[in-house]
Point group: C2
DNA sequence: GTGAAAGCGCTAACAT
DNA sequence: ATGTTAGCGCTTTCAC
């Protein structure tokens, strides 16, 4: 707990032998000043370790150099990379981030909206766990809002989402490349948009090769146990299959586990592709799982960039998609 | 993007037919006012949807009603619950949280310290992934700092940590209760304080029953694969054992997996207790894993409370420990 | 090119 | 009990 009150502009001005007005111009770079005056001020500021008081800046500019980050859903594996990506690009722009956890609760969300508006935030970033569209906040606030991961219901809002369909295509292309032709799909719950988008992309890839799924798509829950069940169902059906695309790494891990127990070799008999590229799952599985990475950090980064632009008055409405990436591991090669 | 400039105190005062000074007294509850005057002001504020401008408050009070939350380590599974716990108790106190990710990088940490001081934060919460002591920030800042999860090196700083030793005792007591007497310990890397504290507590529990480990403690890495290796080592040693305490759920899962493959039944032949209570691991394992929960949300909550107190001038220096909890599942019963 | 002064929204002394 | 006013730290006209 060091003390010594922080130096203010008046201190800098005094040390530099100028008025506060001049010091301000020198520090902000606005207005016309003699070179040596400017340098004297800069030197004084440096010497004193001067940092402008953000509250004062905010009062005069009406801005806060702060954005709100509302996580509308259980904060977890998905939101965190998005947050970090956003933080990175906002922080380099001198923006600070107010962290607001709304826990899927509209009441808490309202509370945060009020708080953020009282704090004059320059913009708001909204992120959720589910990739399904969420209600727009645009009518409630007077600053730009960008939705990351889970898009707004309103198409003219600014949203950034992973390209699930393209991820599905990657999975399909890869399985075809490693010579698989009798393919199955195990999605998450049918209530999730992502389950369908990933399937659609997967089918598009197969269609481009003149193929389709060998056996009807399965929709289960996201967990490992669901993957085990799915494996049992596929085996029981009796349809021959040599490749499976699972909509989560957890499903993939459970499925691989059960296939192995049943004497089916992965990848020799059946190649498996997962989704999420969650290393805790992909690397712990035997064999490790080939997976689709949603590049969530990039999602956050792009969202933050768009927010910064929107704050500057350059809006780019609509849904922006971030490409997925294929990570090849032992479950397919 | 609703517009309409936010009402200010002057607007409230005008509507209520009083001066701004009076309106301020009514709203803050300070000073003496006639009851109906106060109510008129309150009604006007309510009607206009008035929220005080935080920048102005900050300028006059020198406070910001904001705390910085610095995550000094890769933000992940451990930091997130701590953050959420902290958020919860700070938000109810009208405090907002500035989210600062320092990524284990001292340079970034310095950057944030400067930023936070420019923003006049009222206090700082520091959280890290590792439970080993970290360098103190006290000499760099002029506001209270509380360290959550990873304590400060300086014993007179305020730190909040999970009680690893007590967690180890819980594990020991439980294994004894379910009738196990030939016990082994598999820790994380020896470089982690937590590996030793958990072992110490475990041994204390055994000692209280006149026992000690049957076989020398193992120190491996935290992952599943390490658990598998540990299982092989224990089996190879040939020492008989009927209970194992693992310092992470990942280790426990790998160990259970390998024991099962080797024909050793869990929990019939060997009971296993994990640590972290990470459901992705504990529930996906077969059998599900009995584990020790560090109550990280509580750690964050306590840290936030202590920070609030410290800001109010009531310091409670020292290391505060939060108790762990035993969660019983199929791997021991 | 530089300084003086007003004003951002609010609170707290001080008048009345 | 209420109104008036100074001032928090800064930027920005407006004079000089």
């Amino acid at each position: 707990m060091t003390n010594a009150p922080r130096p203010k502009l008046a201190d800098v001005a005094r040390v530099a032998g100028v008025s506060t007005g001049t010091a301000s111009k020198a520090l902000t770079g606005r207005g016309a000043l003699r070179r040596d005056t400017r340098e004297r001020v800069l030197a004084a500021a440096e010497k004193l370790g001067y940092e402008p008081n953000v509250a004062a800046l905010g009062l005069v500019s009406g801005r806060s150099y702060t954005v709100g980050l509302i996580t509308s859903d259980q904060l977890g594996r998905f939101s965190v990379p998005v947050m970090l990506g956003a933080e990175d690009s906002l922080a380099t722009g001198q923006m600070a981030i107010l962290f607001c956890d709304a826990r899927e609760d509209p009441v808490r969300e309202r509370h945060w909206i009020r708080t953020l508006s009282a704090r004059n935030v320059d913009g708001i970033l909204v992120t959720s766990l589910r990739s399904d569209p969420r209600p727009s906040l645009s009518d409630l606030v007077s600053v730009p809002v960008v939705y990351a991961y889970s898009p707004s219901e309103r198409p003219d809002d600014i949203s950034v989402v992973p390209d699930d369909a393209q991820g599905g295509r990657l999975a399909g292309d890869h399985l075809l490349e490693v010579g698989r032709t009798r393919l199955a799909y195990v999605g998450g719950p049918a209530s999730y948009t992502a389950s369908h988008l990933r399937l659609r992309g997967f089918r598009e890839a197969l269609a481009a090769a003149g193929l389709d799924l060998t056996t009807a798509p399965l929709f289960v829950s996201w967990e490992e146990e669901a993957g085990r069940q799915a494996a049992r169902m596929l085996l029981r059906r009796g349809d021959e299959f040599d490749g499976v695309f699972c909509a989560s790494d957890q499903i993939a891990r459970g499925l691989i586990d059960e296939l192995s127990s049943a004497g089916v070799s992965v990848p020799d008999d059946v190649a498996v592709v997962g989704f999420d590229n969650w290393d805790i799952m992909t690397l712990a599985s035997r064999p490790p799982i080939t997976s689709i990475d949603m590049n969530l950090t990039k999602v956050g980064d792009v969202a933050a960039r768009l927010l910064t632009e929107a704050i500057a008055g350059e809006a780019s409405p609509g849904e922006h998609r971030v490409e997925c990436t294929l990570i090849v591991r032992g479950s397919t090669v």
